[in-house]
């Protein structure tokens, strides 16, 4: 009887080993705009902070310090005519951004809202062809290696440089990046984006549910 109880207990306890949860934050620092060489406004340069959770083959990345759209008044002095001129600057920012990757179902869900417009997309998880260069760097105590790839958004191609740690067997990273034999701690493309992972916390027993995004808008399924 005791043996049976023990075996039952053992099987009950099994799934917990697969309920490990990784949490942290990604900070994205943009220093340059895409496209023309106009200067990026100071408000756009404020780093964006995303909350990242990985659990049971699903990961979620959510923007937590949204600024939305801001309108600033700028007062400038024209020396020539000795007058003060008022001008307004409108910076369009993202007020909501959620990315959910489901590695089991192979879906990549994105939902973001900006200046009143909400966009929702679903596609298979993008496949990246990585080239590992074997340069190494210590990030927050983790031994990381460098890998590069090209990110194609349909409109442009970005050269992405990522640093991943093969000791952490989670094949995920910021935004749509994934597929390296280790967790991506840093990913950047020149001055356009620069994601850094911080506050790495891991719990073996935390069970959390990453829910797909609920929306009443009709789905527009994109083909890769």
């Amino acid at each position: 009887m005791k043996k049976v109880v023990l075996i039952i207990l053992f099987f009950i306890s099994m799934p917990t080993s697969f309920s490990q949860t990784l949490r942290g934050i990604y900070i994205n620092q943009t220093l340059e705009g895409v496209g023309d060489d106009s200067k990026l406004s100071e408000t756009s340069k404020i780093p964006k902070v995303y909350e990242y959770v990985f659990h049971d083959n699903k990961s979620s990345q959510k923007l937590i310090n949204s600024r939305g759209t801001t309108v600033d008044t700028l007062i400038q002095k024209y020396e020539k005519y000795d007058i003060l001129v008022e001008s307004t600057i409108k910076t369009v920012g993202i007020s909501k951004s959620t990315i959910i990757k489901d590695f089991k179902a192979n879906t990549y869900l994105r939902n973001f809202e900006s200046d009143g417009t909400e966009t929702y997309t679903q596609q298979p998880i993008p496949l990246y062809e990585w080239t590992i260069t074997n340069e190494t760097k210590m990030i927050n105590g983790f031994n990381c290696k460098k890998a590069t790839t090209n990110m194609n958004t349909g409109r442009r191609t970005f050269n992405v440089e990522a640093w991943f740690c093969e000791d952490v067997p989670i094949n995920d990273g910021p935004i749509s990046l994934n597929g390296l034999p280790g967790f991506i701690f840093e990913a950047s493309s020149g001055k356009i984006f620069n994601f850094k992972f911080k506050n790495f916390t891991f719990s073996e027993t935390e069970k959390t549910i990453i829910e797909p995004i609920k929306t009443v808008v009709k789905l527009e399924v994109l083909k890769n």
């Binding site: 490990q20 105590g141 093969e166 067997p169 034999p181 790495f200 891991f202 073996e204």
Partner: protein
Amino acid sequence: MNYKSVFYIFIFWLFYHTALFAQIKIQGTVVDDTNRVIENANIIIKEVNSDAILQFTKSNNNGVFQLQNLKKSTNYLLKISHLGLKTLEKRVEVQQENMILPVITLSRNAQALNEIILEAKKSAIKISGDTTKYNVDYFKNGTENNLKDLLNNIPGIKTNSKGKIVVNGQEINELLIDGENLYKKQHQLATENLASDAVKSIELYKNHTSFDQLKTNHPSGATALNILLKDSYKNKIKGSIQAESNSRDRKQISSNLYSFTKKNKFSLIQNSNNLGKKGIGDDDYFSITEGDDEQLKTRESGVVYANSTDLPQFLKIGENAVKLNTNFFNLANIYSPTKKTKVSFFSIFNNSDVTQKIVTQQSFTDSKLTFTEKINSFEKNNFGVANLKLVHKRNENTLFKLENRLIHDAIQGNNDINNLESENSINQNNESNKILFKSNFSLLKKIKNDFLTVNTFFNTNNLSTAGQIFSNQSFLNLNFEDDFVFKQNGNNRYQKSGYDATYNLNLKKVSIDLKADYAIHKHNFKTLSTTNPEYFNSFKNTSEQASQEIGLTYPVFTKARLLFRLNNNQILHTINDNEKLSNNFIGYSTSFKLKFNSNSTLELSNSFNNSVTNQENIIPDYIIKDYRSILENENLKPNTLFPSNKFNINFFKFNVSKNTALILNASHTYSNKALSSNLIYKNNYTISQFTTSPKDKLTTVMLFFDRKIKTFHVDFNINFTSVEKEFFINSILSKYSSNYFSNSVNLKSNFKHSPIHLKIGCNYSFSDFTNNGLKNKQYTLQNYIGLNGMFKKDFYWNLAATNTIFKLDSSERRMLQISPNIRYSSKNSNWEFYCNAHNILNINNAEILTNSNNIGFNTETIVSTLAGYINIGAKYKF
């Protein structure tokens, strides 16, 4: 079909298969320990002995993975990992194409990732409670040679100009090597001799209690730094030997040996040189001759002012000699047979031969009396101290301590003096031999919250002196028969034995200390002359001394503490076995200490004390000091008391974020009855009589500021001392005052990766002395710059340049010292080669000016300094 075409087909078939041979593919299946297939396991393949990833893939939903384009007969390392399972690393040798590996099982390990995270979080500095642990590898930048270089790289820790380790602005109380206080206060013996490669980790303990103390309920406030060594440096004899020389016979041989095992720690340091390098500094000398317990007491950020007459000659010389040979030897050993017992032995021997060339002019206030002399002196000094201490800590509440110390100091001096005014040519020999033995047995006991300490002690000090003066003329108005020769011998014996007991009562808020002590002191002082037997001194004082003290510590509010102590003393003197004299006096001290936080304290204190006169000053007849000075006692009695009142302010602040340290210490001591002199002028000599004077004031201010600005360290130091005394000239009251001001500014670079490191500074000092309105001034200005760096990976260079200007009222001297050196030291080799040049612009002896001044006279001296040298040397480490 002919054979040729068959042959070609065969060759083609062979090539086809060979080409295929290059395309080796391996396949495997990953399961867990219940035989369930694992999907999305990471598969990485690397070359053996390389960390570079060649290929990577993932297992599919059947647990199967494939790797292609591998080379045959090559050893690969396969690494398979998955969240929640233990990572497996496996060697694979690809023997055939389409190799199928046996099933790979990953065992369950929920801890795996946690362990990786903890490894990663093993950050450079970890603080837990009162212990701070430093991960040494993080702080290395490749140029470190010894422990001193390593400590200076760690934030908050550095070594100061005296070689002492300073943490967060304050000197540490104890330096431990693997938990043992082997080097006492001689931090530089450890920092300069332990290789940086020997250090595994460094720990800092706050509120530390050393082994020979009992832990109290209050935080002790003491800090200790523990250097933990790598196992490869333990249970072995390690060390180094170094030798350098040049064609002019300037040389140095030094060696150090250390061996650390679990129960025994041993260190031996030897240095013989004629380059003017001291084996031991002034601070260290005082710390040896003072008791251990004085050093381990909770530190206030106080400053110690020492009288230079207390320093032995070999420490005062520095480079002010024509020739200086030093042999220094230090042995330290701590043996811990059990966890409760420690036997520690510590000894220092120093032997030096000094040849000096001095031109001095001494003029006396309010008189035409001036002595201008050319002196060639030769002195030999043997100094040794051996200290043996046994500590047995029976349990957390009981401690036994037995400490024995033996000091031997022998000086032999020979001076050839030429007096330019009187054309007197003198040869003076002095010999003194001092043997000092101290023994102290203590019992420390903790009784609930209270402490009991009982000490019994025995001290004996025996000094014998012998002197001879040969002259070509009469001197001191003595009676001479044939030659102008004077010989005298002296013996000074002192013995003290007694006990003291302290009971420390810790009530809820208040803490009360009760102390009582009793001792018998025996002074025995004799001099006699073989050439002039009419002159002799004999004095004996056996005194019984007792004192009782009560102390109160009261916390005024949470961050402040008030301390008050009152003592009562009784002394009964028996002079020359018949006359009886007595003393009865009190003393008190108060202090108010404010502790803003652990890095900022302020203390105000005041104390009033009486001290009995030094029995050696009770000279019954007179003592001949040299051919033109006589010492006498005018009106001191064996029970003459000298009261003194002292006010003190101590402020310490360390700002962790800005990395700034500020220390301020100001004190004022005054007395309306002090030991002084009455100078009596004769035609060609002076008599100095011990007497009491109604005024003696001393004011000192010390300000020290240290700050880290970006990649530089700046420190700034101001010292101010003012003395005001009254004395007598021919029994007429006269005034003496002196002011001393010094200022130094130092800037040091702290670059992590730079070919050059920089140190620059400026020291300025000014002093003036006024005797009855006659003023004498002196100032020195010193600028220095030091550059050091590394080139071609293993070559280190160092260039130091110092420019000093000495200025007295009548003369001025300048000295430019340039000292370059270059060193070759490779990580792969135990050998090191170097070329050391010191003061290369003064290859012949240069001269510096010094001014010594005291009540009633002013002395200007020109001293020859050691010549510079260029040496080639080698060092072997084992």
